[in-house]
Point group: C2
Chain length 216, copies 2
Amino acid sequence: MNTVKLNTFVNKGKAMGTKERRAREKEQLRQQILSAARELFVNEGYENVSMRKIANKIEYSPTTIYLYFKDKADLLDSVCQETLLNLLNTLEELKEDTSDPVETLRKSGKIYVEFGLKYPQDYKLTFVIRPQFQEGLGLQEGSIGEKVFNYLRVMVSECIKQKIFRQVDVETTGQVMWSAVHGVTLLLIDFPDFPWTEKDTLIDTVIDTTIKGLQA
Amino acid sequence: MNTVKLNTFVNKGKAMGTKERRAREKEQLRQQILSAARELFVNEGYENVSMRKIANKIEYSPTTIYLYFKDKADLLDSVCQETLLNLLNTLEELKEDTSDPVETLRKSGKIYVEFGLKYPQDYKLTFVIRPQFQEGLGLQEGSIGEKVFNYLRVMVSECIKQKIFRQVDVETTGQVMWSAVHGVTLLLIDFPDFPWTEKDTLIDTVIDTTIKGLQA
DNA sequence: TATTAATATGAATACTGTTAAGTTAAATAC
DNA sequence: GTATTTAACTTAACAGTATTCATATTAATA
């Protein structure tokens, strides 16, 4: 009794890459689940997607999903992480010279809203649904969410440094900007039949108004 | 066969007020269901409230609820109508002289956000959850939602009339204001653990920034 | 008192997330 | 090459869900 594994890292023989292959396969299935979940969440809404539906799509038993994700909320969380990464990449594509930081901020704001409108369900999943199922998500050290907000921080502080914006708290300034773009994005998504002003006009006006209001 | 009711309005005899009493009782139960639903929705979240739970609370069978409301979404809708009325009343309590329309707008914005933070679940139910379950809600003629937005319209147009705000579209201006307060309200509700600036500072800055940005 | 109408319910349908126990198949040990 | 261990996956079940339909109860009227 009490057998001890001796070959934990003394892995002689040709079966060398076995573990790696298995890990790769495991990761593959994880990704498969993830993208099936995203597709269903986006097309049918988080609440209308069952674990069984996801399982059917990938042709596995529902319980298999639980070997890869703690529960449905965890699945949602992983989907949202991807979305945030996506958003971050989209924003960083801009990355122009900071000689005119206000223009950079303006463009970033526009990109943010457009991202939300291009993937409305993903946006809501990330910024509205997820917080409901996963409480206590602040800005965890090293998280993608933190990276996104840092992107905003850098832009804003450049505007303040160049004395274009009022010399107030960087944090507050960034949060004001976020409020504005978040607000208009969600309103446009949630009330598509509201008699909005022409969409791009509204978005531009929201961003311009906020920037003007922040200027020194 | 084919019996015809003759006493539809020739209602002789003492049983005169019966119909009225029955109607009153029916309305009472409707209200009872409604307030039980609101309480549960608010405390446990729409998704975590079952028809059975509501039924238990009012000590009726679950099926009874369906005699008063079409389905769960209809129940949600009615709860949200009440919330909007509540919001409208809260806003109209302000109703001061319009000699300083900007100050009125500022206070109204603050009241709006504070309402959202005081009843966060009601706010989300009304402005985020409901649109998901009931699509196509623009601004229906005579609806309470329309009344709320009209309140905003009036304030804004006064600011424009007095040439304090830029001479741009009233609609757009109102929508910009709404975006700002909606955005900050939802962010504060959904990400309570985010390292926000002091709450009231943030709210005031959002409102002040927007107003400043709108000024001529 | 009998009839009619309103109101409420029990049982059933077809779902839901999740768990515990069991099965199968692959990799390792001897 | 056979036995054992480990990993991957599934079956069955639990306790719950929204909703519907046929039935029962209750109250008002004829």
